[in-house]
């Protein structure tokens, strides 16, 4: 892309394209439904009652606004810019995922759908989906790779407590990508009554747009909170990117503020050179999967390769299409962070701030030691602490050699 757009906030176009990315690459059976979803979303967006119900649930059910927090000791430790946290981990269900689920279940109800399906990796989106289904009394089926079912037992049990049926997916590498395939297979067979709550800002148009819009509450709040608390916008935003919904939710309201820099952190697993990572932008190429065109981990024949990350929520070989566009346009920089770096940051945040972050969020935190001193002490970096790490303590214990 050679020409700078007038605004970074008016994507996608009417066909769901963010530059060359995004779009609607789905089986014909699903296409009429995807088009109907788009019409319904436009109508909902224009309906003050929809927004009122969404806002009310975010306030009283999710517990928004989430706090903006000055991480004083971490700031001192890193010796550079002030570090501020957007505390999405304090939301109901412990992560940003619930924001999107509230929005989508209201759409599902509006469309008269009576059954909900979703995919999940770490289980956070599954738990959030099961939660809203319980709240609104809809049956819920969660597809989860069998590998992830084994490594995320607490979340599996949570989903079951909330009344969801959890179906372990045995195909492929039995992780998030395969769960998404299976959810799509369910959807195509049950189009008449089923709504698919996609957990990240990816999939066929209009999902990347609507998930971003529902998650933009993060950035909208943070923008107002920073102005109120500090009298200025932050100099840099940092967020972890798997599919990228917490990152786009934070970034989007700031995209047209030219003095606000942004870094999306990709999971580099064992390191980019090892080939075992989940960094689609750093190590992938544009391609088509799961309804959209975006950067994907793939071989020269277009076969999708397996991702690896210590964080099950980042363990996916693709990324939301808007991130691919922001990457190519240069508006957002993307940085890889390894498993080991994330583990270090995880522990640092526990010890210095008394906050156990999700391993996903720990990737964002791990970028700070590398960049905090590039900024002056009077400058401010805002990090999205997208989720809490209680779900990850078993994984972390295993890597630290501790027995629980």
């Amino acid at each position: 892309m050679t020409k700078q757009p007038n605004s970074y906030r008016n994507q996608p176009d009417e066909r769901g394209h963010f530059g060359q990315f995004g779009g609607r690459y789905v089986a014909e059976t699903l296409m009429p439904l995807v088009l109907e979803l788009e019409r319904e979303y436009r109508a909902a967006k224009a309906d003050p009652a929809f927004k009122a119900q969404f806002d009310d649930l975010l306030e009283h059910y999710v517990g928004r606004p989430s706090p903006l927090y000055f991480a004083e000791r971490l700031t001192e430790e890193l010796g550079g810019a002030e570090i501020w946290f957007k505390r999405e981990e304090l939301n109901h269900t412990g992560a940003h995922k619930i924001n999107n689920c509230i929005g989508q279940i209201l759409l599902a109800l509006r469309m008269g759908k009576t059954r909900i399906i979703a995919e999940t990796g770490a289980g956070q989106h599954g738990v959030a989906t099961a939660t809203v289904c319980a709240r609104f009394g809809l049956p819920c089926v969660i597809y989860m790779g069998a590998t992830d079912v084994a490594r995320q037992q607490p979340n599996v049990f949570r989903m079951k407590l909330l009344g969801a049926e959890v179906i372990p997916v045995e195909s492929g590498a039995r992780t998030l990508k395969d769960a998404m395939n299976e959810a799509l297979r369910d959807w195509v067979a049950n189009v008449h009554d089923t709504f698919y709550i996609i957990g990240t800002a990816a999939g066929p148009h209009p999902y990347p747009e609507l998930v971003r819009d529902f998650q933009s509450v993060i950035g909208t709040e943070a923008r107002a909170q920073m102005l109120k608390r500090t009298g200025a916008l932050p100099d840099l935003l940092v967020a972890a990117v798997g599919g990228g919904s917490n990152a786009i939710g934070l970034f989007h309201p700031f995209l047209d503020d030219p003095d606000v820099a942004m870094i999306g952190v990709e999971a580099a697993g064992h390191g980019i050179e090892s080939g075992q990572h989940a960094a689609s932008l750093t190590g992938g190429f544009p391609g088509i999967l799961h309804g959209n065109k975006t950067y994907l981990l793939q071989d020269e024949d277009g076969q999708i390769t397996e991702a690896h990350s210590i964080s099950a929520g980042l363990d996916y070989p693709g990324i939301g299409p808007e991130h691919s566009w922001l990457h190519e346009s240069g508006r957002v920089k993307y940085m890889p962070i390894t498993d080991d770096e994330a583990l270090e940051a995880f522990q640092l945040c526990c010890r210095l701030e008394g906050i156990i972050p999700a391993l996903e969020s720990a990737h964002a935190l791990a970028a700070l030691p590398k960049i905090a001193r590039d900024y002056g002490k009077e400058q401010r970096i805002l990090v999205n602490v997208s989720g809490r790490g209680d779900k990850d303590i078993f994984t972390v214990a295993e890597h630290l050699g501790a027995k629980l």
């Binding site: 014909e28 009429p32 395939n181 799509l184």
Partner: protein, 264 residues
């Protein structure tokens, strides 16, 4: 439009369209068995790691093929060698978008044409994203074969047919491959509805397993597509698959070719 494809649907009888996955088993021998059994059109599946619209049978075939290291070059070689052995039998590639567009649509269209491919079915690339494949294929004279489904309504159908070639593939059930079969009445209605909008032949697939089912559909459609039942034979019998494929194809062909006295 491909002559071979149009001829396959103008033999004065319904056509049998047979699908198997490239690189699964001895594909050349398996394809020959389909032709010997009486297949009128061959659909050669391009294996993909993430076959989202396929049921367990074809998923397993994709994994078997990729597990053996099948590449796009291998798929094209299978097509080329098939064309050398069977000059008149139309061959269609069926698969997912990513392997087809990986080296660019022009490359793929060029290779398809050069290796004797008559048409392409891309499961996850509909009219909305036609720019990624359709123009390149049409420029090379390779038919862009589109799918219509029970959810494709009359307002949408013209978009589906715009740029479509070869035949129209009617997916008779909302679902994945190899599962249940649709009620015959609904298929008959759907085919009539489609034919009111297009002169393309209409072939019906998804869930067709037995000669009896195939014959019943052939009474109301221009062609019948059988995939999972064949692919499962390849999985079950391995090196011995050709004789089983030949037998099933022959009984399917008997049923289909005798379904009607007169062409539609």
């Amino acid at each position: 439009m491909s002559d071979r494809l149009s001829r396959a649907f103008t033999k004065g009888r319904p056509a049998l369209v047979c699908f198997i996955t490239a690189g699964d088993g001895d594909t050349a021998a398996n394809l020959d068995a389909l032709v010997e059994g009486g297949a009128d059109v061959i659909e050669l599946g391009m294996p993909f790691t993430d076959p989202m619209a396929d049921g367990p049978g074809i998923q397993a075939a994709n994994l078997r093929s990729l597990g053996k290291g099948t590449t796009t070059a291998d798929v094209l070689a299978i097509a080329r060698e098939f064309r050398a052995r069977h000059a008149d039998v139309p061959l269609v590639l069926m698969g997912y978008a990513n392997p087809m567009v990986r080296r660019g649509p022009e490359w793929f269209a060029e290779q398809a044409a050069a290796n004797g491919v008559d048409g392409v079915i891309c499961v996850d690339l509909g009219p909305e994203e036609d720019q990624d494949l359709g123009p390149a294929l049409r420029a090379k004279g390779v038919a862009m074969i589109r799918l219509a489904t029970p959810t494709t309504d009359d307002t949408r159908l013209p978009a589906v047919l715009d740029g479509a070639g070869g035949f129209l593939y009617y997916v008779s059930v909302a679902g994945i491959t190899g599962k249940q079969q649709a009620a015959l009445g609904s298929i008959e209605q759907a085919v009539a509805r489609l034919k009111a909008h297009t002169t393309l032949p209409v072939a019906v697939g998804f869930g067709v397993r037995t000669p009896e089912q195939a014959q019943a559909i052939a009474r109301v459609a221009d062609g019948v597509v059988v995939g999972s039942a064949l692919v499962e034979l390849v999985g079950k019998y391995g090196a011995d698959a050709p004789e089983h494929l030949r037998a099933l194809t022959a009984s399917l062909a008997d049923g289909i070719h005798s379904a009607r006295k007169e062409p539609a």
